[in-house]
Amino acid sequence: MAVTQTTSPSAVWRTSLGRVLTSSQSLVSFGFVLVIWSVVAALKIVPDTIFPSPWATWSALTEMWQNGTMSKDLRVSLGRAVVGFSIGASLGVIVGLMTGRVAIVRTFLNPFLNLLRPIPAIALVPVAIVWFGIGEGSKYFVISYTVFLTVWFNTHHGMQYVPDTYLRASRSLGASKMREFLTVVIPAAAPHIFAGIRLGVALAFLSLIAAELSGASSGLGFRLQEARQYIRTDRMFALLIILGALGAAIDYLVHRIGQKLVHWEQG
């Protein structure tokens, strides 16, 4: 119930991430998987090239760190995700606020946007390559498109559920339509908007890799594809672990930022 924050945000972030990683439950879980993985690899049921051992994966990871490909791939991929996400999320919020509030915009856009939603991001990659080539443009397009639809949908949805009493209270206090929109409707919809943004971050990752797997010459997705050509499953595993850790860390960060911004929604 308490909302006031006595510790600084960075301190909170450090301590809680530390708690997540060191909590006995996650230690047990990670340890368990590592033991099973080591045993299966040591028994050599399947060849090392098909199913790499933890230590082979570790050395592939350090190798990629040391020769610099990992940091370059991370930079390129994160850059794409950030640009695509920013375009998609800001458009999604703006259009969602409009379709949620303005009937005519809703009439023109909603049926069409709802029709687009079920199309999987991967299906767009060929179109994006034809339109924008294999450069950055096609990645930005695929990512911002998927992020846009999710953020739009959640924003629009949140706008529909602004409690009537808030609007009534605002109007009977004499607030203008603009003040009502900015300081009542948007904050009331904010928890939904943030849920959309969090989903959007996960989808940005998903569509980033989808776009990089075909038609890219750099990035984590490209590196996975390259590892396939050389049958380097150790590198693949290392890249998958990096993707998982990165995704979890970013999701956690976004979640914490959301909690700060919509502080009244907890508990």
Binding site: V3, R168, S172, L173, T183, V184, A190, W264
Partner: protein
């Protein structure tokens, strides 16, 4: 911002309110005639679903009468405005603003300087005894405190009329009693015309100048009591008449065939 003693006259002239539903049209409020004189305190009592909230929504400008005229100081009420303040049972405070922020939200329309706005918001909180909770968020306050913030917020924008829809219905008995005396103090200072909807006969008799009893749906006014007992009232010291009226109203609210109301 204190209301002029000669403004705040609400005239409800032959008002009927109907709603369209899937089952057809229903009459939520039957033909009603009622005048709220400036600065008076009227309590409205009636069984659930009798249309008292519907009437209140119409005066607030949230709903439009199907027939008849609804005016404030002679001008028709067509939409919500700060002339008609509303206190909701569920407080309707904005959880993203502090107590002070909630009051400042209403004051924005007056385009005061920032300092003046803050000063006036503080003064409003002071009036309801919550100055030391100015920077708390609604979810950190008790139910009674929330309703005090809501009262301060509404009076701060200078309403001519104050509508209260079962404002203390969600509070415990002890808190409710202290809210009654707080409301009387603040109201006597601002003198808005009050329409107070309640289920609670005792509450109505202790607070109001005028008690109106409504029938079951479709609602219409069936009884009117004018109370002149000095405030603060109590059943123990305000004379036997109050107790007689109480019995009478309880009888009116108790339909012969069942005991579902009050």
């Amino acid at each position: 911002m204190d209301a002029d003693p000669n403004v705040g006259k609400v005239t409800i002239d032959d008002v009927v309110i109907r709603f369209k539903t899937k089952q057809g049209e229903i009459t939520a409020l039957d033909r009603t005639q009622l005048t709220l004189e400036p600065g008076t305190f009227t309590a409205l009592i009636g069984p659930s679903g009798c249309g008292k909230s519907t009437l209140m929504n119409a005066i607030a400008g949230f709903a439009t009468p199907s027939e008849g005229n609804l005016t404030l100081d002679g001008a028709p009420i067509t939409e919500p405005s700060n002339d008609v303040g509303v206190i909701f049972q569920q407080y309707a405070l904005f959880p993203w603003f502090t107590a002070l922020g909630n009051i400042r939200f209403g004051l924005k329309q007056f385009k005061l300087s920032k300092n003046e706005e803050i000063d006036r918001a503080h003064a409003a909180l002071e009036e309801v005894g919550l100055s030391q909770h100015a920077n708390k968020y609604p979810q950190q306050l008790s139910g009674g405190m929330k309703q005090r913030v809501a009262i301060a917020r509404t009076f701060a924008v200078g309403p001519k009329v104050l509508l209260m829809d079962e404002p203390f219905g969600a509070l415990d008995a002890q808190t409710r009693i202290s809210m009654h005396s707080l409301l009387m103090d603040v109201w006597q200072k601002h003198r808005a015309t009050v329409l107070f909807v309640t289920h609670d006969v005792d509450e109505a008799l202790l607070l109001a100048d005028d008690v109106r009893v409504m029938s079951q749906a479709p609602g219409r006014m069936i009884r009117h009591y004018n109370l002149t007992q000095k405030r603060p009232r109590a059943f123990s010291r305000s004379g036997p008449e109050l107790l007689e009226i109480r019995e009478e109203i309880l009888g009116l609210l108790r339909p012969d065939e069942d005991l579902t109301v009050t």
